[in-house]
Symmetry: C2
């Protein structure tokens, strides 16, 4: 099977065209000279978790941010890295395939070779299993030729998602040592980057010279924090899904007799559902975060949908499109509690057939109320992260079923006098994942690959490649690297949505911020979306002409550019320092002192107050 990896393959006309597409580099990465400027030491966003994180990562916590600047940049203490020794780098795909993953490898390879043609890039075959087994393929121009700007992870393949157990970590360490790797680049999401951070710490502790670098690639878009604005793959996934959702909207509007319930990807967070809603304007979206925050039960949501159906029927509209994320089912408090009981019994070895009888009275009542197909799906063994098998649970069918029952009841009672409610259900889970990546994802992944190299050249360990200011054109993108530990949080609230191990620092999936601008945009438009059928059809993913350069709505509306703003603050501080030099007037000093005292006091109060919650 190994011989299948990396072989040239026949491409369609469009794939060929795309394979010749050359992404642009931001100015700072052009040429062979790059300046690195180290910022202040980083801290975790959550100050109360910082101590736990620093204890778990004594060697890699608190490292400074690294900004990559153009060689002509006038930053006094920036270093220019001039010597580029030949390096040996390993790269591995971890977790689910995400469109654009191949371009990370391409960018990394390109940067390696530009700076020293003797450098070697080894791809691990078959994901982390290939890493443990030391199965590699040398990545060359020839190998890359038919994979540039293409979807999937099939250049190298992938298997398991974990590098976590003692055996796995040891196997990774042995592989890096045996292959004399200067660095290991891990391409993945929240879990894989947590593993990368742990690996970096362990390698440092065991004096293994291999540096570990993480790249944020995950189609759920939930690896988001102050340093990371979006993930490779998210843009493509949302565009392809929006294309399909719009097709369904057009269909709904043409036939005028069906409600379509569409379940989208998004286990711990509803980013895909939110973005697709903002792109295609379906009638409704039910975000797991909203449900969890309002503690709505599945019956509340059923009633909300029924009220919407009824309001539309009064306008003689009998069609509609409703989106929901696959994680929704776990966000209903009563269903979550039921799932916890079921999983506990399964872990005790109780067979699925006998579970119903051993549930608590209320859980049993809920369970028996649900239709048989859902009961069967809820009884599936939980996944390795303790969440239910969300891709297997047909929440869209359950909701359609409950809404139909309620509408029939209302008809019987005479409170609803419209036509019969008809539903059609869809799960758009896998259709988009193997797509040709969008231009944005091609560019983003390629540049991240380059940054990956510069992290290695700067000798950094436990960093993630980051790009900010992404809503602007490529030449305005800011290239940087942030310690992965600075993105960690510590969960303290017990078995919440997600049930992670208590107290262990980790990257956690960022959920949709209900105070953010994207959600606000949704709220402002939700009545119009619901009643007026203002469906928007972005059409199929284009590579030329209008729409080809479109970016995710949620990326564009948020005030992101955290890195840019951090730099701006530093400039202010430097300016104050340069104005208030010894020798300045008494008045200037007095004004400065008073103003700065007030600023520091405000910030101290705010930092203490925000300590309890994770701001991202």
């Amino acid at each position: 099977m190994d011989s299948d990896y990396g072989i040239a393959r026949e491409l369609s006309d469009l794939q060929k065209l795309r394979s010749h597409y050359q992404p642009e580099l931001p100015p700072c990465l052009q040429g062979t000279t790059v300046r690195v400027h180290f910022g202040d030491a980083t801290a975790a966003a959550d100050p109360t978790g910082a101590h736990t994180i620093s204890r778990s990562f004594p060697l890699t916590y608190g490292q400074p941010l690294a900004h990559f600047l153009r060689s002509t940049a006038k930053v006094p203490d920036a270093q220019i890295i001039t010597e580029h020794a030949a390096v040996r780098v390993g790269v591995v795909f971890c977790g689910r395939q995400s469109p654009g993953g191949h371009n990370v490898i391409w960018g990394l390879h390109e940067a390696l070779k530009v700076h020293n043609p003797k450098s070697v890039l080894l791809g691990f075959l078959g994901g982390s299993d290939g890493l443990f087994a030391q199965k590699t393929l040398e990545v060359t121009d020839e190998v890359l030729a038919t994979y540039k700007n293409q979807g999937g992870y099939d250049l190298l393949g992938r298997t398991k998602d974990q590098i976590r157990t003692i055996e796995q970590v040891n196997a990774a360490l042995n592989a890096c040592t045996a292959l004399k790797l200067d660095a290991l680049v891990i391409i993945g999401g929240v879990t894989s980057n947590t593993d990368a951070a742990q690996l970096a710490e362990t390698f440092a502790e065991r004096k293994c010279p291999t540096k570990v670098v993480g790249i944020p690639v995950t189609l759920n878009g939930d690896l988001r924090n102050q340093f990371v604005e979006t993930n490779v793959g998210f843009d493509t996934i949302c565009k392809v899904n929006s294309q399909l959702i719009s097709n369904v909207c057009t269909d709904a509007l043409s036939a005028e007799k069906y409600y379509y319930f569409i379940r989208l990807m998004g286990r711990k967070a509803s980013h895909v559902a939110l973005e697709c809603t903002l792109q295609s304007h379906p009638n409704m979206v039910i975000l797991a975060e909203e449900v969890a925050a309002s503690k709505l039960t599945i019956f509340d949501i059923t009633n909300q949908i029924c009220d919407a159906v009824q309001a539309r029927a009064e306008q003689d509209k009998y069609h509609g499109v409703i989106l929901l994320p696959e994680g929704l089912i776990e966000s209903f408090p009563e269903v979550f509690a039921l799932l916890q009981e079921i999983h506990a019994l399964l872990r005790q070895g109780v067979s699925a057939d006998n579970i119903s009888a051993q549930l608590s009275p209320w859980a049993s009542a809920l369970f028996e109320f649900l239709p048989p197909f859902i009961r069967k799906q809820l009884l599936l063994h939980p996944e390795s992260d303790d969440s239910a098998q969300l891709s297997q649970i047909e929440t869209e069918k359950l909701l359609a079923h409950l809404v139909e029952a309620e509408m029939n009841k209302r008809t019987k009672e005479g409170t609803y006098k419209g036509k019969k409610f008809n539903a059609i259900c869809h799960f758009f889970g896998y259709q988009a994942r193997g797509s040709l990546p969008s231009k944005f994802d091609c560019d983003y992944a390629y540049v991240l690959g380059h940054i990956g190299y510069h992290i290695i050249a700067a000798g950094l360990n436990g960093y993630m490649a980051t790009l900010t200011n992404l809503k602007n054109p490529v030449n305005k993108w800011r290239c940087a690297a942030a310690p992965i530990t600075a993105m960690m949080t510590v969960k303290r609230y017990g078995r919440g949505h997600g049930a992670s191990i208590l107290g262990k620092p980790a990257l956690h999936p960022a959920t949709v911020d209900l105070k953010g601008k994207s959600y606000e945009l949704l709220r402002q438009n939700s009545t119009k979306f619901l009643m007026d059928d203002v469906y928007r059809n972005p059409g199929p993913l284009q590579y030329d002409g209008p729409g080809a350069d479109a970016k995710a709505v949620t990326l564009c509306v948020e005030d992101q550019d955290y890195m840019g703003r951090i730099k701006l603050l530093q400039e202010h501080l430097d300016k104050v320092r340069s104005i208030v030099k010894p020798g300045c007037s008494q008045d200037v000093l007095k004004a400065a002192l008073s103003a700065m005292a007030s600023v520091t006091e405000i910030l101290s109060v705010m930092s203490a107050a925000s300590g309890g919650s994770t701001p991202f």
Copy 2:
């Protein structure tokens, strides 16, 4: 609700660009002068049915073909239509929405107005129900502005598919009379065009001056015959589905652990499945026509798939993609027989719960063997055309279930030693239907709309607009009109696959020709597809650059251009006549006589022999 139709709406950037796209016209339709040349009187392809058809359609059967030629064309007996009186035309969407439908209306409107600005085009709102109720919207440039080159049928909407009962036909006649329509254009597939032919005959019989014109628009691509090469919508549907199938193939190849079973549209015919296979090269496709022709049972197919899984496992491959059309379930002889029994009992009013007990012993044995979810789906009431509710029957899940059971059995018996078989199922039924139409469908529909007008201008009744030589560029397309009755056949084989009313002439869905070149191409490549993972990714539908002008593979490989060849034959005959004029030598006459006698004898024998089967 009516006020929602035809209103301007907000378009995305890509939709806006597309709304400005101007399809090309073939040379013969450019300018305001078009020549019409009438060919020989048409006959149905099936000579034994011809008598029945001519008896049912005394006024509209046997009319000649009409070719539309450029005004400068040197065809002696072609007429130039110079007078273009103002006409009032009605247009109605019948049946399922198909990408490109809006462009038929645009082309028709454009042609009407170019030839006489006083002509009026009335769109019926909400399909045939709108026709019966005489609910219209005047189609204007303004109304069309945001619907040009856009998907869906939402400009006018659609409802029921039938204009067939005495009440419906009378309502249509009343509408045409009341609205003083010179013509009624029906946009639809096999069923709707059969209705159009019937309506034309009835109108002629009742001296209603309204001419009826049909336009071949159906995404299944099964309105195919000697005059019609493909249907509006088929190209888009196959491209969008191939995009999704390729994504799944890439996914399969990246994860390497799942078999994907994908059910596609195609009730009576597997054209979509065949075309998508030729575009995206999945590992297997199971065509309903193959299964029906070979009388394979569902267990035969299960074993075939298991053998393929096993052969791939021997090459260490545990992934794959298998396509099947939704009509497959009815093509298994034993399942079809079971469905017949179920439907007969349902028609007798037996409730679904009691059916199992009343089945014949063998049908009952099969029924009880099937998994519960399929049993429930088989018990659904049949559709109006007596076929099962194919969109509701999850044949892909049934096959995945049976394959899994068989693989487990083989593992237990020790005949299969590979890894566990894992399946993921998809139904790609509705995702593509509302898509922005491909360039080909935009062009094809627009030109058909124009031809619709020229049929009306020539005063023809019961004709369908046709375009042939479609695999060549637009300037080579041949424009013509053929009497719908010439495309009819009469079913004589009793309750076959499709169970139409015996003896009544109708357009029947054309199934995949197992002797045709497209199927041959599939056969030649099937082993390579099965074993070598030569997945091809045509990518998302493009409007610019490579792939934007791609046409369906099945359109390009078949020797179609029937109209071109008919014309060529006529040229040969004319040439013989001009060479063998009175006064030619004895030798020439002798040679001509002998050759022609032999040709006529061969053709007589062939026509008689082919009488029993429908060649298309």
